[in-house]
Amino acid sequence: MKTRINNTLGRLGRLWGYYTPSIRRQSLLTAGITLVCYLITVLSARGGDAIGFYTLATLICICTYYMGPLLFATGRSRALEAQLPATPGERTMFALGYCYVYIPALMAAVWYGSYAIARLTGLIEDDPECAIMQRIFEEAHLSDSSILQIKKLSFVNISQNMLTTSVCLYFSTKARNNAVLMGIVSAVCAMMALGFIGGAAGFIKGMTDATVGNCHNPEEIVESMMQFVARLQYAISALGCVCVVLFTWLLYRQYKYRQI
């Protein structure tokens, strides 16, 4: 068999080929989970008091995205994977493309594909997510400006999600033993760290407001809190971007200098 592998694109294609059996398995699992989560969302929108289920479905969905890097937790086939003729840069590029492009694209395709099919077959009339969000806003008595603020924040969340994924990617490729477990634990730790930062900031904000007594009615309190959350989200997103770059650099170094 004569093959030409002296170009980056060719080697990236071959890397895809090498991981194909695992990609197939993970794609099926990811698509399945996304589909189930979408069904839960649809049922939640129809049900009266099902916001909890929607939140759970969203969490499962996002965790599925975080776990994309587990493809690279190679375990006992590590020696085989490490010998593949590809540069560290190509390996990094492939891993980033898989985790940040392929997995989100697959999930989005299943999610919005399901939405389109449900709309075309008449199963749903409106976007179930919008219906649930609308209900949350109503229950929380949010003003229009607050809703706008939340919508703006949705794109900011991307960098936070990428942060958790990049942490999982780095640790699952670094670990010599129990690589899958290390990937999961590191992702959970990253999520907890982000949650802790948010919780601590919220606590300080709440205590400050309570002490100073800036706000007098519930709507003002919610409004002020939303603005604070927005500022905090932007700050955390900036931190997320820095961390993603840092972990990508660490990943590259890991591929370049790792000792099997």
Partner: protein, 285 residues
């Protein structure tokens, strides 16, 4: 060809050295790598494959520095560890998806190798026993036809007939420019095929020689009586196996097992001196 120049490696910065000042040159051919447990055999194979990078010194495999991890170099080397899980269902799919990285991979040769072991490319790897999986992976590794092939304990788990088949297959696959390094404790399994031997002891190269030079400098004999003038001899089941200085008589086949045992005794120094002497004589000629 594999060249190591003053290569040292330690797993932890402050830890003990796994390999110290290893200088070697392995010409194309089949080489036997011997050493006690923990001598550094697998570390040496990892360095040759570029899976580890030397803390000091340079390891050149197929003419390229493996520490740089360049695809051009990596596609010329393949290392088969003693225990390996493959992420493929069958050897056939492994050939399709993994073999594409290796320009000289020969699918026909793979089919032939598998056939000689009585295996098929579409058998599921998970359904294979340890020995069968080992045979399938060896058949695959040989079909990659890399310039440098590194085999760690290839005969582990193989039955007697398969070992014979493997011996023939390795001997046939060692084409002009290819270097095969076999690390094993079961010396007898593939004994007749080696072109050279490297003996490692506590991270140092104790002996590195071609089989031809060994056969010229030493004589390996077996007798029912103790052998006089032997550099080293041992007895087993009433048979005396001895190493003698090589003479003008006909060359004897190298007994690697006996040589290895002798190298752990004071006779090692005499053997090394005889090999040096033979090298000098050859140079003079």
């Amino acid at each position: 060809m594999v060249t190591l120049d003053n290569v040292s490696y330690r797993y932890m910065k402050q830890g003990p050295s796994a390999l110290t000042d290893v200088t070697l040159q392995l010409e194309p051919g089949i080489h036997l790598l011997l050493g006690e447990n923990g001598a550094g055999k697998t570390t040496l194979l990892h360095l040759m494959a570029g899976l580890l990078t030397a803390r000091e010194g340079v390891c050149m495999t197929a003419g390229m520095d493996m520490a740089l991890r360049q695809p051009a170099a990596q596609s010329k080397v393949f290392f088969l560890p003693d225990s390996l899980d493959v992420p493929f269902q069958t050897i056939g799919s492994m050939a399709d998806l993994h073999g594409r990285f290796y320009p000289r991979f020969d699918r026909v040769l793979l089919e032939r190798n598998l056939d000689r072991f009585g295996l098929k490319a579409d058998t599921r790897i998970k359904q294979m026993s340890f020995g069968t999986r080992r045979k399938a992976l060896i058949a695959y590794a040989l079909a990659l036809r890399t310039e440098v092939l590194l085999l760690d304990e290839p005969t582990n788990g193989l039955d007697i007939e398969s070992k014979k088949t493997l011996r023939r297959m390795i001997a046939e696959s060692a084409v002009e420019d290819s270097t095969v390094v076999v690390s094993t404790h079961s010396v007898h399994d593939l004994e007749s095929i080696y072109d050279g031997v490297v003996i490692l002891r506590k991270g140092h190269v104790q002996l590195a020689s071609t089989t031809a030079r060994l056969a010229g400098a030493l004589a390996f004999v077996s007798h029912f009586e103790p052998v006089e003038g032997a550099i080293y001899q041992e007895t087993e089941a009433g048979i005396y196996r001895a190493i003698l200085p090589g003479g003008d008589d006909e060359e004897t086949a190298v007994n690697f097992s006996l040589l290895y045992t002798a190298m752990s005794t004071p006779a090692a120094e005499i053997i090394v001196n005889l090999l040096w002497k033979s090298r000098d004589e050859n140079k003079d000629k």
